[in-house]
């Protein structure tokens, strides 16, 4: 009967691909939505669930089908839990911004308005959902980007595919990533406008040299318009702004201006912050 051959062929196919990525085992596209994944698994269950073949197969064949089905179930669970973690979003509330440590809207309003009119940041919503604000670190740490959840997820995926796994180390740096302090410090990374613009728009799982949440200024514009040393001071100024330390920000911005006197962007920013300081002594 064709049903019998169908399921046996399917089981052989799955067992041959054992260990490959979940979407390969489910025979669907990698970017399938949660609903598509569920439908695909239901389709497999309808034809290949071992319970449906208790009477048609020999014990060995049934064992093979059961094993294949169990493997596919594992793949389904992996895809489903990944989908559960990424698809949930909720409306942004005002207290989210405060949790992020964003400066008082009044403080940053002037530069924000000015620059936002020029280039609206495309990934403005994304960092709020993905970044864990409590783990924003100063621009030295390479680990800054990975949030605890993202880190755990990466480790889990790695462990199943990697061969030499020691799972309880959640913060193992990936191969090719430099440790903080050993190789490139962020300022030398930063000057290349291309690299900054690339990392700035990426999700934070990579070794992004701390492009923390920048509420006021899109990083591309900032990076392109100043030298590397000035960018370092500028980042420090941003951190000061986040803390609400306006005077510190003025100092850092002054240093930045000294490092790159030609940048009109920095001068504008300095002027804006200084106005703010004068408004709120």
């Amino acid at each position: 009967m064709s049903l019998r051959t169908d399921v046996l062929l399917w089981a052989q196919r799955v067992i041959a691909r054992k260990g490959s990525a979940p979407h390969v085992l489910l025979e669907i596209d990698e970017k399938s939505t949660a609903v598509q994944v569920q439908e695909a698994f239901h389709k497999i269950a309808r034809t290949s669930h071992p319970d449906l073949h208790r009477h048609g197969l020999t014990p060995d064949e049934l064992e093979m089908v059961t094993s294949a089905y169990a493997t596919v179930a594992g793949a389904y669970q992996q895809m489903r839990s990944a989908a559960m973690q990424t698809t949930r979003i909720r409306p942004l509330k005002s207290d989210d911004l405060q949790k992020l440590g964003a400066p008082d809207p009044r403080t940053i309003a002037p530069p924000d308005k000015k620059l936002a009119s020029g280039s609206t940041a495309p990934g403005e919503v994304r960092p709020i959902i993905r970044d864990d604000p409590r783990h924003v670190t100063p621009p030295g740490g390479t680990r800054a980007g990975s949030t605890p959840q993202a880190g755990a997820r990466v480790v889990r995926v790695r462990a199943s595919t990697d061969s030499d796994v020691r799972p309880p180390k959640p913060t193992r740096p990936g191969a090719g990533h430099t440790r903080p302090g050993t190789g490139s410090d962020p300022p030398t990374n930063a000057p290349k406008p291309a690299s900054v613009s690339a990392t700035g728009s990426q999700p934070p799982t990579g070794a992004t040299p701390s492009v923390p949440f920048t509420p006021s200024l899109p990083p591309q514009t900032a990076a392109q318009s100043m030298s590397s040393k000035a960018l370092l001071y500028y980042r420090k100024a941003e951190l000061c702004l986040k803390r609400g330390d306006l005077r510190g920000a003025v100092l850092q911005l002054k240093l930045a201006c000294a490092a790159d006197p030609s940048s009109s962007f920095l001068r504008t920013a300095l002027a804006e912050v200084e106005t703010e300081v004068r408004k709120n002594p």
Binding site: M1, A45, L52, G56, G74, Y76, A159, S160
Partner: protein, 540 residues
């Protein structure tokens, strides 16, 4: 075609059914009752009495009547909840080998599976008498959150009763099957199973003939018994106050109060107030007194509100685990006798903003689902056994088609496919005392997952793999399941050896663990030793 029985082996009551072409036929007891108390009595006259007859011995010989055996089956007697449950029973339980509870009755020592096997055997004999054929196969239901050891113990009980347990299915899933089979709809339902001793909630998606459990959780020490006990304690205090006599030291009297409490509870489900007397209370001065009582439904609801709050809390958690909102659920099934309590239904209606489905019989629906699954697995004719057949508009799907053997028709009413889940996260212990997760809670079963581990020290020649269940990242905070030992490994530097650990949960929800050394030509395999399992020697 062999007859396969579907058995709902409950804490207080059991029920059995068999699927026939025209519908589900329930197995009747000697007085034509469909529901059989899960009570086993060992009377002074000898022999074993099961069911409604055994219940009558509760007053005369409370020490020799074994009830609520399901609360102890496959349990570690040292677990705190088990110790708590032991205070509520009148028969004697001691610790046996492998820390399992042993019942001592009339100098006989019996394991919990043996007690349960008496109930199963009784049901089997009733079925054989009714059907006129020998019955060997069965599908037995268990609470969704039963552990590995509890499932194995239940299977063992079936084996002792001479039944081939084809499958253990979860009670909420069985109820959903009975409800949705033949309905041919795509819907999300919630099964709220509040029985005599256990409480379960499952969220299912019914997609045609596929029944997928999305999330499941519960509490196996929460049920109608607890409500009875809460009420009995109040009655005992009342007795102490009016008759100046504390019945809590007297097992017979406490049992009498428990029975009275159960009757009051049932009465209050239909009426607003209960008033009466509990007679036959033997006072220490030789006379017999009676305890008058007067309770309103409101008073009773206040007494049990703590338990009800817990059930609603778990229900909300499960909905969140499934990634849904209460408004996504299109039907709420009430399963188990305790869902007859009006306040339970009211709270459910408040939670889901819709009335729960009360068209199903809460005592029988689980056995019905088990019978459908048993019929499906044994290849019997099962069209028209689900409730969908009754409720749905008649279509060609409900014509008396015959589905036999491996020929599965392409029509809309194929065999049901149950996609059940494992109830808790399964992990192994890794260096540093962490629990490394292999199988997540609520993953579909049967499922298989392989992970590669390595050694923590140089020249390590043996590794011990400890398995546990639970959600904590620390091994010690989880419930240990058992361990396996892999020996004779080639000495290598740490990190060089690859140890493949494969977790497989079969369709019964029982875990099988396999560990092997990847590189060595001869694969070394070890099997899991389960703590608390009744057959410790056999492994899985």
């Amino acid at each position: 075609m062999a007859i396969a029985l579907g058995i709902d082996l409950g804490t207080t009551n059991s029920c059995a059914a068999v699927a026939t072409p025209t519908g589900v036929e329930f197995i009747l007891g000697q007085r034509a009752e469909r529901v059989h108390p899960s009570v086993v009595a060992f009377p002074a006259t000898g022999g074993v009495v099961v069911g409604a007859d055994a219940k009558r011995y509760r007053l005369t010989e409370p020490h020799h009547v074994i009830h609520s055996a399901k609360r102890f089956i496959g349990q570690n007697i040292r677990a705190p909840l088990v110790q708590l449950a032991l205070t509520g029973i009148r028969y004697k339980v001691t610790e046996g080998p492998n820390q399992q509870p042993i019942v001592v009755v009339r100098d006989r020592r019996m394991t919990m599976p043996e007690i349960s096997s008496h109930v199963l055997l009784y049901l089997k004999r009733c079925a054989e008498r009714q059907l006129g054929e020998s019955v060997n196969d069965a599908v037995v239901t268990v609470p969704a959150n039963f552990t590995d050891a509890q499932r194995q113990a239940t299977k063992e009980a079936g084996r002792l009763a001479g039944l081939n347990v084809m499958r253990l299915i979860n009670e909420p899933t069985a109820a959903a099957l009975a409800y949705g089979f033949g309905r041919n709809q795509d819907q999300l339902i919630c099964v709220f199973d509040f029985g005599g001793g256990t409480f379960d909630v499952s969220i299912l998606r019914i997609n045609g003939e596929v029944f997928e459990v999305l999330a499941s959780d519960g509490d196996y020490f929460l049920g109608g018994d607890d409500l009875d006990r809460a009420l009995a304690e109040v009655l005992a205090a009342e007795c102490n106050r009016t008759l100046q006599f504390d019945p809590r030291q007297h097992p017979v009297l406490m049992m009498k109060l428990m029975m009275g409490a159960e009757a009051i509870k049932c009465h209050l489900s239909a009426n607003d107030a209960a008033e009466g007397e509990i007679d036959g209370i033997d006072l220490p001065n030789g006379t017999t007194g009676s305890l008058p009582f007067s309770l309103t439904r409101k008073q009773f609801e206040d007494m049990i509100s703590g338990y009800i709050n817990r059930t609603i809390e778990v229900t909300k958690q499960v909905i969140a685990q499934a990634g849904l909102l209460p408004s996504d659920i299109s039907d709420v099934l009430c399963v188990g006798g305790s869902t007859r309590i009006p306040t339970v239904r009211q709270r459910l209606a408040d939670t889901f903003h819709r009335e729960p489905n009360i068209k199903i019989n809460p005592d029988e629906v689980v056995a019905q689902g088990a019978a459908i699954q048993a019929g499906s697995l044994s290849g019997s004719i099962i069209a028209g056994t689900g409730m969908g057949a009754r409720d749905a508009v008649m279509t060609e799907a409900h014509s008396p088609l015959i589905y036999g053997g491996a020929t599965i028709p392409k029509g809309p009413l194929a065999r049901p496919v149950l996609l059940d889940v494992n109830p808790s996260t399964l992990s192994v212990q890794t260096a540093g005392g962490y629990a490394e997760r292999l199988l997540d809670k609520n993953s579909p079963i049967p499922i298989e997952r392989t992970r590669v581990f390595t050694t923590a020290r140089d020249n390590q020649t043996r590794v011990e793999i400890d398995c546990c269940r639970g959600e904590s990242r620390r091994y010690t905070e989880n419930e240990p399941l058992g361990h396996l030992l892999l020996e004779g490994l080639p000495p290598k530097a740490r990190g060089d050896l690859k140890i493949e650990v494969c977790f497989r949960v079969d369709a019964d929800g029982i875990l099988h663990v396999r560990a092997s050394d990847v590189d060595s030509g001869a694969r070394q395999e070890a099997r899991l030793q389960v703590f608390g399992a009744p057959t410790a020697g056999e492994g899985t």
